[in-house]
């Protein structure tokens, strides 16, 4: 299966815009998990630009695919994707993280259209996803549930309770997306609490497993398609190896840290660098 080059080019434009929206939100508050947002933008571009069945004007449309943001601190990335998808107006970007904004720093279902759950207490999303997937099957609703999570959440026992439950109940409508950027609060994930061999672990739990470069749009696209098209009634996980800060070289190479520090003038510098790498046809 070869990804259509036109599709990949269009997704590159979406990913570029998602990165740009995230940087602009980071500039508003002078902070935010921008390293993760830049690293995860390609996956979000494929999710919202290709895979998810959505009606942007009806964020609660019954037939929509559910996308759960388990790692609530990725909200800055998620809002950027929701803006790109037309669910949140771009004009709200300037309210990011401000009092009474619909875009709080950590994602919450009760605040934001298109935000399905209140994540942030890490390790809950996949277990909620099991319930939503069971509920959809109970209603005979063919929608998919996507759970977006960080590699740090692999430390949580509840993630593995959910992995067992999803497999036991044959939840072929559940797709788990794991961002493996190998950074969590106290350092490299592998050193905080080693989780390899990760693909083997998920496979042993009864999941269909793919591991791909999460910043290779063509590979990401193919992985999403394979996960959706699998016939077997088993849950699917895609393990995405990503690079924090992707698209802004001085952030890519900055000493790796869970919370990348960005000094005030650097937001404009990052935007300027990103603009120089604008894919053909993308609009700022």
């Amino acid at each position: 299966m070869t990804a259509n080059p036109n599709t990949v080019a269009a997704l590159a434009q979406r990913a570029w815009r998602i990165r740009r929206f995230a940087l602009r939100m980071g500039e508003v508050q002078g902070q935010g998990y921008i390293g993760q947002a830049l690293g995860w933008a390609d996956v979000l571009a494929v999710a919202y630009g290709h895979a998810l069945n959505l009606r942007p004007a009806e964020p609660e449309w019954e037939g929509r695919d559910r996308f759960l943001l388990s790692h609530g601190h990725y909200a800055i990335a998620h809002y950027a994707a929701l803006i790109e998808a037309g669910i949140i107006p771009e004009s709200e970007l300037d309210t990011y993280g401000s009092d009474d904004s619909r875009l709080p720093m950590s994602g919450m279902a009760t605040y934001t259209p298109g935000m399905e759950i209140s994540g942030g207490s890490l390790g809950q999303g996949l277990a909620i996803g099991v319930g939503i997937a069971l509920g959809l099957k109970h209603k005979k609703n063919p929608a998919f549930v996507y759970n977006s999570m960080s590699d740090g959440e692999l430390d949580e026992g509840s993630t593995w309770e959910a992995a067992m439950g999803a497999s036991h109940h044959g939840l072929g409508n559940l797709i788990c997306l794991v961002d493996i950027n190998n950074q969590q609060a106290d350092g490299p994930s592998g050193k905080v609490l080693g989780f390899e061999p990760l693909a083997d672990k998920w496979a042993a739990f009864g999941w269909h497993v793919q591991r791909v470069d999460g910043n290779d749009l063509s590979a990401v696209l193919k992985a999403f398609d394979a996960a959706r098209q699998l016939r077997e009634p088993k849950p699917r996980v895609i393990l995405f190896d990503t690079l924090m800060g992707k698209g802004v070289p001085f952030l890519e190479s900055r000493e790796k840290n869970h919370f990348i520090r960005v000094d005030p003038p650097e937001w404009q510098q990052a935007l300027a660098i990103l603009d120089q790498s604008q894919p053909e046809g993308a609009l700022a």
Partner: protein, 335 residues
């Protein structure tokens, strides 16, 4: 009502996990929760049941047998249980999630807090072995479950007394839009309240008997013990009123204040729960805020301690929540 009488058995002397709180010759009904839920769910396909490997021991097995397609076994995974129940509620189901109170509240607290309560999801958490209703000791006894659940915003808390309370509470908590934590008595459950002019109403406290010397405010099976103590104390010319308060949150403060103000009496709050954070402290707070000072105020709850393993009659006597111990404590407080 179909009732049976608990067979005469020698007094338990073992620290069994599951022991009936029914006394000798006590009228009982079997599995009121499971039976009522089966009946309620008959024409309501949105009602689903989930458990964490404790269907048989929470009477949910009856629901599983009646509606296998609506029963979801989550395994011994309480975090998954609560989160999955929340997820199903998001899709329009009315999930009844069962386990033991110790595991449901202590092990899965953050999942109740964040997944279920924060989004006001329509999950009914029904937990067996509340308070001191197991002989296993602190691993299984949940003497702080109400304290933990009271701290969760928007969560309704119900502590039923007997089979009648449970039968009448199930449809009402199901119809209540929002999360509920209900303490569950399972197996052979005493039947007491049918002898009174009483109906369970979610959010309401009800006066079961009046008296001039003492007002016992009670929830759960301690209402049964309070009624028995009141009868015993009457023989000693002590007149005891009993106010049953099965909804712990939101608390029926108006009825409680009215009852306390009605006569100058010793007020005793009797609960199958630690004296920390339960009905007793909730009542005390309500009375202070309403500037009501009773003639006396005492807590007949469980001590703030890790309680012993043992047979329930032994333990209830030891910790002051048996009928006799409660009556003795009240007489002491009156002196």
């Amino acid at each position: 009502m179909n009732t049976t009488v608990a067979p005469k058995k020698p007094r338990l002397t073992t620290s069994a996990m599951i022991a009936s709180i029914a006394g000798e010759d006590q009228r009982v009904k079997a599995a009121p929760f499971g039976k009522t839920l089966v009946e309620y769910a008959a024409n309501r396909p949105e009602v689903v049941g989930l458990t964490a490997d404790l269907a048989k021991y929470t009477d949910l097995h009856l629901f599983a047998q009646a509606y296998p397609e609506r029963f979801f076994q989550m395994g011994m995974a309480e975090q998954l249980l609560m989160a999955a129940a929340g997820g199903m509620a998001k899709e329009g189901c009315i999930p009844f999630a069962t386990t033991y109170a110790a595991f449901g509240t202590r092990r899965a607290f953050d999942f109740i807090h964040q997944v279920i309560a924060e989004e006001n999801l329509n999950v009914k958490i029904c937990c067996a072995l509340p308070g001191l209703t197991t002989g296993y000791g602190p691993s299984h006894a949940a003497i702080e479950d109400i304290a933990m659940m009271r701290g969760v915003p928007g969560l309704t808390i119900v502590d039923p007394c007997d089979a009648l309370d449970i039968e009448q509470a199930v449809p009402q908590i199901a119809a209540h839009p929002g999360p509920v934590y209900m303490r569950l008595l399972r197996g052979q459950v005493p039947l007491v309240l049918d002898k009174y002019d009483y109906r369970f109403e979610l959010g309401k406290a009800k006066l079961l008997r009046d008296g001039v010397d003492v007002l016992i405010i009670a929830s759960g099976f301690m209402t049964m013990r309070a009624l028995e103590s009141a009868a015993a104390l009457a023989d000693d010319n002590v007149s005891v009123a009993v106010l049953h308060c099965p909804t712990i949150k939101p608390l029926d403060e108006a009825t409680i204040v009215e009852a306390v103000c009605a006569k100058p009496r010793l007020v005793v709050v009797a609960e199958n729960h630690s004296v920390v954070g339960g009905l007793g402290e909730a009542v005390a707070s309500a009375l202070l805020r309403h500037r009501v000072m009773p003639a006396g105020f005492q807590l007949a709850g469980l001590p703030d301690a890790f309680l012993d393993a043992g047979a329930l009659p032994t333990l209830h006597e030891r910790y002051g929540i048996s009928t006799e111990a409660l009556a003795t404590r009240i007489k002491g407080w009156l002196q």
